[in-house]
Amino acid sequence: MTGRDAAYGAAGLAVLFGVAEAVPRLGLVSRDFLPPASEILRTLGHELTTRQLWSALGDTMSAWALGLAIAFVLAVALGTLIDAVPGARAATASTVEFLRPIPSVALIPLATLLFGADLGSSLLLIVYAAFWQVLIQVLYGVADVDPVARETARSYRLGHWTTLRRLVWPTALPYVMTGLRLAASVAFILAVTAELVIGSPGLGLRIQLAQSGGAVATVYALITLAGIIGVVVNLAVRSLERRLLAWHPSVRGEAAA
């Protein structure tokens, strides 16, 4: 990210802050239900000084990271396999399409039954939701291999593994990166939601406590924190992308013209 990009991004956030400050102050929404942005940030600042918040954050982020990693590895492996095994795409399509729209939230009873309010519950929900995001992107990505490039690989008799590593994955990478970005936020959302709904410890539980305690500013402060984490995670994925996709038109194009 260049300095200019950062400045633009900051300007965008500033506009958002301005709107969130103005709406309650102008009375469009009562301050009791949506406090002004400055008050939210103040509350967030206060929350950040408490130890409970950091330990909750640690719980949430570790569930997030673990769940995302499991979902990502599973989806990439399965997606590649489906692409590599002839007929597998057709054989799995109906099942994938059936299972994909089943909401994680509907699995909550199952999760509670199996894991109670432990990490396992959160993981089950996170992995289930994030997995499909990556899988679909992988399936589209691996199907996008340039035919001439594939013929090149075949004629030089590149092995399955080399073809996978040197041709299929690089082609799918832009799709997979988008999948990773989607899955990262879905995993985070599910981590928070699981805590919110099941009550396993973490940021979501704190949001739930704040909600049922009627502490509106705290609720929004915690939501804001969730959003900030999203921005940070995206920055990380973007910088990863710039390194991995330096060759791709979408990245290299920015340097030229």
Binding site: S30, D32, F33, I108, P109, T112, L113, L114, F115, G116, A117, D118, L196, V197, I198, G199, P201, L205, R206, Q208, L209, A210, Q211, S212, G213, G214, A215, T218, V219
Partner: protein, 304 residues
Amino acid sequence: GDSGEPAGKGASSGSGGGTRSVTIGAIAIVDTAPVYLAQSQGFFKKHGIDAKITSVQGGAASITGVMGGQFAFGFANTTSLLTAQQQGLPLKVVANGVASTGERDTDYSAVLVPEGSPVKSAKDLAGRTVAVNQLKNIGDTTVRAAVRKDGGDASKVEFVEMPFPDMPAALAKGRVDAVWEVEPFVTQATGQGARAVAWPYADAAPDLTVAMYFTTQPTLQKDPELVKDFTAAMNEALAYADAHPDAVREILKSYTSIPAEAIAKIKLPKWPAEINRESVQTVADDARQDGTLTKDADVAALLP
């Protein structure tokens, strides 16, 4: 269906010393103050129980957790327990949970309407939209009972589902005509100008037993000692909570996020050690009448 795994992870015997580790699933609201007090005041320890309280989102979650063996004991409201029992879940109540104060103006739950609403009392709710936290649960059952008692047509009340914390805003915006709230939101909403028109817990039955602590039949059979000790500890805690409102307000600061100034103002429920069996029967009958329950409930089998 089956019985679930009795006393799985939820309870495990300590080595010889007689202390048993127990996980309890309970929602973190005002109602469950005694169980936290039981822990902080040492009632559990006194009875050889090393308790861990896990916060859950609602009664259904704690019932599922208890059924799955994740919790040895759970906390759920009367309607949830009756519904679960009717579906064949072998639940057994082991201690009282929380009760209404029985007096209209001081009760900790109320139906609120915005300033200037034409609704004057419960019977005016007919033809109106009322928000409750969960449909087919204790809220709509008791609100209907209150409307009937007041001479209104309970079948004309429209219910819509909404989490308690979102109700004050919806009420202020006029999205609904009335809301059924509990503390601390009753205090919050009345502070913003809302007016109480009915007190369903107080209206539905005298000294209504709102919620209870429970376990599964298999746990009861396998480890009656543990259950007995839990009941004893809880009964002490209930009595203590009833007698020491300041201790209750103090402990609320530790496990809820209710702002300190609200804690000082909110109305507290009652925590009698005795379950009011008639009130449970009344709730069961009302629920049966509304169709929330599909069969006559076997209250005796559920209660100890």
